[in-house]
């Protein structure tokens, strides 16, 4: 059976530390746009930690919610793309082929989660920052849409390694950068088609919900709701 990569985000573990955000930037050559562009709303973060206030002082509460590409099985960003730059892979990934993108930004409008980011200018890496660029990830040019790829370069590396060693890809042999860095293990990645995998088991948790699931985008990311403290249970 082909693999179906998926993720679980445990909102009860997530502390809002944003290690995932920095890790993704470092792994995927995500460009830094600078203050002026950021002020225009053009900052690029393939994964972001959304923050929602609830209530007023002194009863103010906060909810953190890491949001990345949901790798929808019915991805609205795909049919609208006139050049197949945004398309579905056999393993169910929503792939983005940069050199095919002509920059209509239609996919960005169609994506309900606003996780697609556009290169309004050519990215710059002040020398010698360019020496840090990950050679496994191509850099994007002006006019091209980009987004979370589930760190497809890591998936490919692992697959190639497995092939070379003539064996199956092992569970948890690799992780996307955000998952690997997440200090509280709030992010879990794996093969949803393998019922024994941790991600598959957690996806079935009663705390599980889909982000904007009502839109029928069939996301491959499951959010586990924050738990409540049940004093009795513990005493």
């Amino acid at each position: 059976m082909t693999r179906r990569w998926g993720m679980v985000v445990d909102l009860d573990r997530c502390t809002g530390c944003e290690a995932c955000v920095a890790a993704c930037r470092a792994e995927n050559n995500v460009p830094t746009v600078g203050e002026a562009e950021a002020a225009k709303g053009r900052a690029i973060h393939w994964i972001r930690v959304e923050r929602y206030w609830e209530g007023e002082f002194p009863d103010a509460r906060v909810r953190f919610m890491p949001v990345l590409c949901q790798q929808c099985d019915a991805a609205p960003c795909e049919p609208v793309c006139p050049t197949y730059a945004s398309h579905h892979t056999s393993e169910g990934l929503n792939a983005q082929i940069y050199n095919r993108c002509i920059g209509t930004r239609y996919c960005g409008n169609a994506c309900p989660y606003n996780v697609r980011f556009f290169n309004f200018f050519n990215p710059v890496w002040e020398k010698p920052f360019h020496l840090q660029l990950n050679p496994d990830v191509s850099v994007r040019e002006v006019g091209v849409m980009e987004k979370c790829t589930f760190c497809v370069q890591r998936i490919k590396r692992a697959e190639i390694q497995a092939q070379a060693e003539k064996r199956e890809l092992r569970e948890a042999e690799f992780q996307p950068a955000c998952v690997q860095s997440c200090p509280s293990n709030a992010l879990v990645f794996g093969n949803l088609n393998d019922p024994s995998s941790r991600v598959a088991q957690l996806s079935r948790s009663p705390r599980g919900t889909k982000l904007l699931g009502e839109l029928g985008t069939l996301p491959k990311i499951t959010y586990l709701e924050k738990g409540a403290w049940d004093g009795e249970k513990n005493s």
Binding site: E18, W53, F57, P128
Partner: protein, 754 residues
């Protein structure tokens, strides 16, 4: 470079050269013969240590072949070399256990920073002008040695000062030996958010002048007094990992988490219950909780007497801390006090943490002792789900032992032009000009020092005053070593060889000191006979891994293995025992915080806090962190003043308006950020921005809250009470916030939840 020159150089070095003359400058550079052979496209993982904070997480650096412009033998050229591409946590390392925080991820930019100092520099312009001239290492070392020799000759060794950020144990020892053998005073370690108060409290309470380690993973009830332990305090990565376990790691059990702080931190945002007690009254609240536990006899008598050993009055049931009293002083409803006390007493293992602002009050030590007493009462000392102390791995004295002299004292000594004031100062990666209140007149003091050498990699507010800059390698380019103070119950000495070859014409500070020592010869040369820092590390490790070191029964670990796995650590010790020291601190002493400035003139408490991205500002030069949205404010590339929406409404301040915040000691301007997570009488501001220099990315960005702090200190330790300032605020005009989250100009109130 002219074409003829190029051909000469190519001839001299005999390295292969790409065709000259075609447009690309790199093709006019000579091509060095690679110093290592790497397979293109393959990667190698090398251990190192995160330098970004004191936690010292062990990391793995992903090294791949690439092509860099490098300097070899004072010659710029192209070389295919191993370059660090990505950092991950080191899964074997007891503190990080394979995880990193955003600062640790971004720290890779330190190495590749375009504004790094690439060569030794000599000052040409006036002090602080930033005008320097490149010199060779020979010249630089010559100059430094000569200066020291002059001091020795004129018998002024004691006028040599060494000023540094907290060093690793071995580097610290090397510096100590260097200074001691010269007859110079010991090095002054400086941090903005140092932990002097807590270490002192733990010394009094538990006989350990050390930051605590928490077993959060097994805690059922956690109350934290102002500690941003998931964000910036103590050992965030270790805490976060255990926190995840506390919440969802144990089937059927989910620990409760209560946070006490007047301004909601990233950590507080995760709490089940958030309690904005009045600033500085945390100790009183802690004893209030203890009072209820004692009077209702919710804990065994032994616990009470243990607590009594630490804090007088526990045996009597702390009559001064009735819920009514506590409500009056802290603003926390008596019902809440009673409920919390019962909950924590009945849901053991329960644990209380204190850190950050509550310790940075004039009554900081009292607050710390009160919480320690509460922990003793809760029986959380050295118990699963409780408090531990990381064992000392090394037989050597800790570098972080409190020195006789503090920054403030040193500055005073100099400015008062007192007898043997400082004639020469060696500066390593500490930035007190940025990090101390103007009242301490550190800049003034440093400007009076005739000769100043910086080993730093960047020109920050302090090192720009230097006469001589001898730039250090980046951590990825040098031997690194660190002994975590907390974050694990194992004895650890992290240690790693360089992960990559140096990009620039730099040298590691310890090696420079050794070189100088050898040139000086005599006593100094004898004291530091190692030919290089790694030789010293090797020796120390040999001492370490002798059986018994750090209370472990380990067979000695080989030098090679240590290098490979990133250090040495003992086998798991289930619960390192330590004695409860009987300190007998009178409970009532200095319990009330003191403030500078009258509440009428300055109606607001001013709360500077370490920023999620920059901590104390030492990371403000990294563009990744500048563009990382603060998770609560969602702001990027700037700073802001947090204000309660009701207060803002009353003062006609809107989101983004520029406000002026004035204390008795200065004023600053910054855009206002409305936040429901802050008490109406408190204004908060992240530390880290407001640099005068410190690279193109940090320069002239926002304001530095430390510049308006009152120089009050905690009396016993002399630590800066950085949370003891009162301020007033006034709107001065339209402004701009660069927010990542949501529509600009929409206040969090209007935009609560969908």
């Amino acid at each position: 470079m002219k074409r003829r020159e190029f051909i000469q150089i190519a001839g001299i070095t005999g390295a292969t050269a790409a065709l000259a003359g075609c447009g690309h400058p790199e093709h006019q550079l000579i091509r060095f013969v690679p110093e290592e052979d790497l397979e293109p496209g393959t990667d190698e993982w090398k251990p190192s240590i995160c330098p970004a904070c004191r936690a010292g997480c062990g990391i793995l650096a992903r090294v791949m072949e690439g092509e860099a412009e490098v300097v070899r033998k004072n010659q710029l050229g192209l070389m295919n070399m191993g370059l660090v591409k990505k950092l991950e946590g080191n899964p074997l390392h007891p503190v990080s256990r394979g995880k990193l925080c955003p600062r640790g991820q971004a720290a890779i930019q330190i190495t590749y920073h375009p504004d790094r100092i690439t060569d030794p520099l000599r000052r040409t312009g006036p002090r602080g002008s930033g005008e320097f001239q490149r010199i060779t290492w020979e010249e630089g070392l010559q100059e430094l040695t000569a200066k020291i020799q002059e001091l020795v000759r004129t018998g002024q060794e004691s006028a040599l000062a060494f000023f540094t950020r907290p060093l690793g144990v071995q580097a610290g020892r090397l510096v100590e030996l260097f200074l001691a053998s010269l007859g110079a005073p010991p090095a002054v370690a400086f941090e903005v958010f140092d932990e002097v108060v807590l270490r002192r409290a733990n010394e009094l309470s538990f006989g350990r002048a050390q930051l605590p380690t928490f077993d959060l993973g097994n805690t059922n009830y956690l109350i934290s007094f102002g500690a941003d332990f998931l964000g910036t305090w103590n050992s965030p990565v270790a805490h976060a990992r255990a926190y995840g376990e506390m919440r969802q790691g144990r089937p059927g059990v989910r620990g409760k988490f209560v946070q006490v702080e007047p301004r909601m931190s990233q950590t507080g945002a995760n709490a089940d219950e958030w309690i904005p007690a009045r600033p500085g009254t945390e100790g009183i609240l802690a004893l209030g909780l203890a009072q209820v536990i004692l009077t209702e006899k919710l804990r065994p008598m032994r616990a009470a007497s243990d607590a009594q050993n630490l804090l007088e009055g526990c045996a009597r049931g702390l009559p001064e801390y009735t819920p009514e009293e506590v409500q009056k002083k802290t603003g926390v409803a008596r019902a809440t006090v009673e409920r919390l006390a019962r909950e924590m007493a009945t849901h053991s293992p329960a644990l209380a943490i204190i850190g950050g602002a509550p310790l940075a009050q004039t009554n900081g030590l009292f607050n710390a002792l009160a919480v320690n007493a509460l922990n003793i009462l809760l029986g959380s000392i050295g118990q699963p789900g409780g408090i531990f102390f990381t064992p000392e791995p090394s037989t050597h004295a800790r570098a972080r032992k409190q020195k006789a002299i503090s920054v403030r004292a040193l500055a005073e000594r100099i400015t008062s032009g007192e007898g043997d004031s400082v004639k020469a100062l060696l500066l390593y990666d500490a930035n007190p000009v940025f990090g101390t209140p103007p009242g301490w007149r550190v800049r003034d003091a440093f400007e009076r020092i005739p000769f100043m050498v910086s080993f730093g990699s960047f020109l920050d507010e302090t090192s720009i005053l230097a006469d001589l800059v001898l730039p250090d390698h980046s951590y990825l380019e040098s031997w690194v070593e660190h002994v975590p103070e907390s974050g694990t119950t194992l004895a650890v000495e992290s240690l790693a060889p360089p992960a990559m070859r140096p990009l620039h014409n730099t040298r590691s500070m310890p090696d420079v000191l050794l070189a100088v020592a050898h040139q000086l010869g005599g006593r100094v040369g004898a004291a530091l006979e190692w030919e290089s820092f790694d030789a010293m590390l090797r020796e120390s490790l040999a001492a370490l891994s002798k059986p018994g070191a750090g209370g472990s029964k380990e067979p000695p670990m080989s030098w090679e293995k240590a290098q490979k796995q990133g250090g040495w650590w003992s086998a798991p010790v289930n619960s390192p025992k330590f004695a409860l020291r009987t300190a007998r601190v009178p409970a009532l002493r200095s319990q009330e915080p003191e403030w500078d400035g009258s509440p009428q003139q300055f109606p607001f408490h001013f709360l500077p806090y370490p920023s999620q991205s920059f901590l104390d500002g030492s990371l403000a030069h990294l563009p990744w962190l500048q563009e990382l949205p603060d998770v609560l404010a969602t702001a990027m590339w700037g700073t802001w003043v947090e204000i309660n929406p009701q207060t803002a409404e009353r003062l006609r301040i809107e989101q983004g308006d520029v406000v002026e915040v004035a204390s008795p000691h200065g004023k600053l301007q910054a855009p206002a950020l409305l936040s429901p997570g802050i008490a109406p009488d408190v204004l908060a501001m992240p530390v880290g921005q407001g640099h005068r220099n410190f690279t193109r990315y940090a320069r002239g960005r926002g304001a530095n809250p430390l510049e308006i702090l009152t120089p009050l200190v905690e009396p016993e330790t002399g630590a800066l009470a950085w949370a003891a300032t009162r301020v007033r605020i006034v709107r001065v005009g339209q402004g701009k916030l660069v927010l990542f989250g949501g529509d600009l100009g929409v206040s969090p109130r209007k935009r609560s939840n969908r």
